[in-house]
Amino acid sequence: MKHQPITPVQQSLTFSRRMMVFGGLEASIGALLVGRLGWLSIAENEHYSLLSESNRVQLIVVPPRRGWLVDRHGVPIAINRSDFRVDLVPQQLEQPEQTLKSLAALLSLDTDEMDRILRDLKQSRGFQPVQVAEDVPYDRYAALMVRLPELPGVRPMRGFSRYYPQGPAVAHLVGYVGTPSAEEYDKTKDPLFLTPGFKIGKQGLEKTLEPYLRGTPGGQRIEVTARGKLVKELDPKPDRSGQTVQLTIDAGLQEYAARRMGPESAALVAMEIATGDMLAYVSMPAYDPNSFSQGIGRTEWKMLSEDNHIPLLNKVAQGLYPSGSTIKPAMALGFLKQGLDPDQKFHCTGGVQIGNRYFRDDDAHGIVDMHSAIEHSCNAYFWAMGLKTDPQQTTEMVNYLGYGEEFDLPIPSQRFGTMPNPKWLEEKYHREWQGYDTANTSIGQGYVLINPMQLAVMPSRIASGNLVQPRLLLGGPRKPIKPLAINPEHLDYVRKAMAAVVNGHGTAVASKLPLDGIQMAGKTGTAQVHRLETRGHQSTWALRDHALFIAFAPADKPRYAIGCIVEHGGFGASAAAPIVRDTMTYLFDKQKALAALAPLEAQWGGSLAERNARELQQFKAAARANIA
């Protein structure tokens, strides 16, 4: 501190100086404030206007309408139906038990559905609404609306539900849609996934075509307060429905084939040879995708999962079977390529000794050449010729024609089986290819495993002489079809032999097309499921052989190819060939095919839909009886 005395004059000077400093401080803070205000409202205006707008306007998301799936002629396969729906908002539920009881009474929900709601409520995240019922009839909806004020947390709405007119017939083709799971939401964090009524494809084409089918959500734009109170409704934001996807499938054929299979557990694929378009893609029995898409009841699920015909399995893409004798035309082409003379005679005595094992044929076919060996499906001929040729080259030919090949198709998972060859065996099982491997492979047994799609691709390729690739999307890119690297004379020879199978004295003469001037060519197959000694007709269903049939028609100018397998159907000629015959007939003459179906359905006890409904009722009754 200074010791200088301070006078009033000095004090006055100090005061003036300090006032100047203080005034300057005030002015600079004032300038800072104005500057800050200008910065916020000019430079940052756009940013804050956006934030203000996103505060003010909220979107009540309305799920976009899902794109349709239509067949090659525009017939709908998967469409949307407008319906009334009721949801529960768990957070807003005041008396859950009472509300659920009232809902059960008002909407007449059965115990199955109540179980599902309770399960969903437990899994829900509070703010995520839970579906109570879809497709509510108008009178019940109206009754609920009247009681609504006393049911907090219940939210009735108009919505859309997925509808598959062909039901189970297209189940394994299109799959089904369902409410997104918690994991699926976590992956995307898309608020749309939490909107009740929003479904995503869970299986089949619904799953693989999801990006095309989904569309963009719109919704009601509303002005809300910070507390979520609605102030006023603004212009709605329109949603954009998903794209319509046209399939190569012929819905009529698909449904016909499904019906024609009757009570069998079977798969059938039909193709247009010129394009590779898959016209039918049928796996039966099947679940009803309509009930899956609405959230399936426990009883129905139980019934489906306990069925030994495995309706939940897509046999077309995931069923693997030994090809049986359907491999023979391809084997024959393999032999021909290696220079085997097709006219070389072979004496079939009903079996062949290979190594220390005697391979027994079904029959002693006597003197056969390649043509009659195919026609009569003589195993001994193929065993013997197989031993004379190079197994590597022969099996490569079979693989080239489609067996064991994976196709580029929009299918969620495809099992494509195995076409064994000596190299493969060495790599996989570390052993040398033996005579009995040749023998087994020659008749489509042993390691040979194929899927039903390959059963259609094989005859398509043989019939057309082109490397036909199957496809499911009509609008999809069309790959150029290359001709097969096979001598056309060889192909012609095999085609003629296949024609004789159906139209000569072959194994499938009972399955001639009932059409004037159109002949079908084919090859039967009977794949052994159990031991060789117990082949043929068995009383136990699960031990019976699989029946297979591959075919194309017309035999002279091939247009269509069909592959079919009937699980445990017995002989290919008796179980699979008639189904193929009638399905093929449908492609040329619908009336005739439907006329052939009518007496069969009468015998089975009604059409597919009738039988399914009856089965479900029976099962529900049995389930109730068990509980009681």
Binding site: M1, K2, P5, I6, T7, P8, V9, Q11, S12, T14, F15, S16, R18, M19, V21, F22, G23, E26, A27, I29, G30, L32, L33, V34, R36, L37, G38, L40, S41, I42, E44, N45, H47, Y48, S49, L51, S52, E53, N55, R56, E223, V224, T225, A226, R227, V231
Partner: protein
């Protein structure tokens, strides 16, 4: 000052410019409160208008107070308010809760509000009584520090950080203008700057979180940073011309919390834009300049210091509030005087203005001086 033959002398002698400015500010406040209530004079605008009119009357009435009277009551008033503060503290202690007011019949008195003008008066009086030569001495500092520090500590214990902070700033301003040595203020600023990291290190986690939120309110937009975030959205979205009167979505849809009290400026700017905000700031600036002029022209040490301190009170109200609302200062709960809804702030500011008008009248008329000490 209006001089006209028609207007009676006592009326003509009122500082009409100041009254006009004050009324403009209050009117902007009333308009904003009307809008914040969703276009209604209830529940805020009408009440605020009545309170403002009453206190404007009180302020005008106070303008006839003699300086000697004001000087005379400075210490007793301070003592009274000090006792009230202690009482509040005790009451809070007894009821085991934070308490800031005394209930006297229908009135709720908040002693900390009265303390703001009282500390100005008492410090001005103290420095007036202090002999001229000792202003740089220790005895010029410690009594003032006690007069200021004890009530500030009491208020901080309430706890009311905003008011305590303002009290210290106001008292500090008076001491600064009174001529306390530079190094005192520079040292205080230095200690504050050096102590901040230390204080930060000693803070609780929740207090640290507050600091972080102040530095970056968007990091916690739904929690403690919500007020400032929404306030900045309101101000920023108003743009230059605003969204239009009664069109502010932030305030009308309740996104802006406290839109009628502490954050009333955001409500106003959202609707009136940068222009409205600048007009209001400018109006306050003119009031403050008027007060500073009163201080500069004062002819006694007491009126010099008191006028400067009272003006500083108004200034700090405005500055802290606006900095807080625009995200330049932490949210400490200081209202915008005459604009924010609430009687106490209106009362405090109008008391300050009343006292300023009294000093102004006396320097104009030359009456009421107990001792003339006109600087050369």
């Amino acid at each position: 000052m209006i001089s006209s033959a028609i207007i009676p002398q006592p009326l003509a002698k009122l500082p009409w410019r100041l009254i006009f400015l004050t009324a403009i500010i209050a009117f902007i406040g009333l308009l904003t409160l009307y809008s914040a209530a969703g276009g209604s004079i209830q529940p805020w605008a009408l009440k605020q208008a009545i309170v403002f009119c009453i206190f404007l009357g009180v302020a005008v009435g106070m303008s006839w107070l003699k300086e000697s009277t004001i000087k005379g009551v400075a210490f007793p008033l301070y003592a009274l308010i000090f006792v009230a503060l202690v009482l509040v503290e005790l009451l809070g202690f007894v009821s085991k809760g934070a308490q800031r007011w005394l209930e006297l019949g229908p009135m709720k008195l908040q002693p900390s509000e009265f303390m703001k003008p009282a500390i100005v008066l008492v410090l001005a009086r103290f420095y007036e009584l202090l002999p001229t030569g000792v202003i740089r001495k220790w005895r010029a500092i410690w009594p003032a520090a006690l007069l200021l520090g004890i009530p500030a500590a009491l208020i901080m214990a309430q706890p009311d950080m905003g008011t305590a902070l303002m009290l210290i700033l106001i008292g500090g301003s008076v001491m600064f203008i009174a001529g306390l040595p530079w190094w005192l203020f520079a040292g205080a600023a230095g200690v504050l700057a050096a102590g901040a990291p230390l204080a930060f290190a000693l803070m609780h986690d929740y207090q640290r979180k507050r600091v972080f939120i102040f530095l970056n309110p968007e990091s916690d937009p739904l929690g403690a940073g919500y007020h400032v975030t929404q306030s900045k959205i309101a101000i920023g979205s108003g743009g230059i011309f605003g969204k239009g009167y009664l069109q502010g979505s932030q305030s009308h849809l309740d996104y802006l919390p406290e839109g009628h009290t502490d954050f009333v400026f955001a409500t106003m700017v959202e609707e009136w834009g940068l222009i409205g905000g600048v007009v209001l700031i400018f109006a306050f600036a003119l009031v403050i300049r008027w007060g500073m002029r009163v201080s500069a022209n004062a002819r006694t040490r007491f009126s010099q210091l008191a006028a400067a301190g009272l003006t500083a009170t108004i200034f700090f109200y405005v500055a802290i509030n606006l900095m807080m609302v625009m995200g330049l200062a932490p949210v400490v709960g200081v209202p915008l005087p005459l604009v924010s809804y609430g009687g106490s702030a209106v009362m405090t500011v109008m008391l300050c203005i009343g006292l300023l008008m009294s000093f102004e009248r006396q320097q104009r008329t030359g009456t009421g001086y107990s001792q003339l000490r006109i600087p050369a």
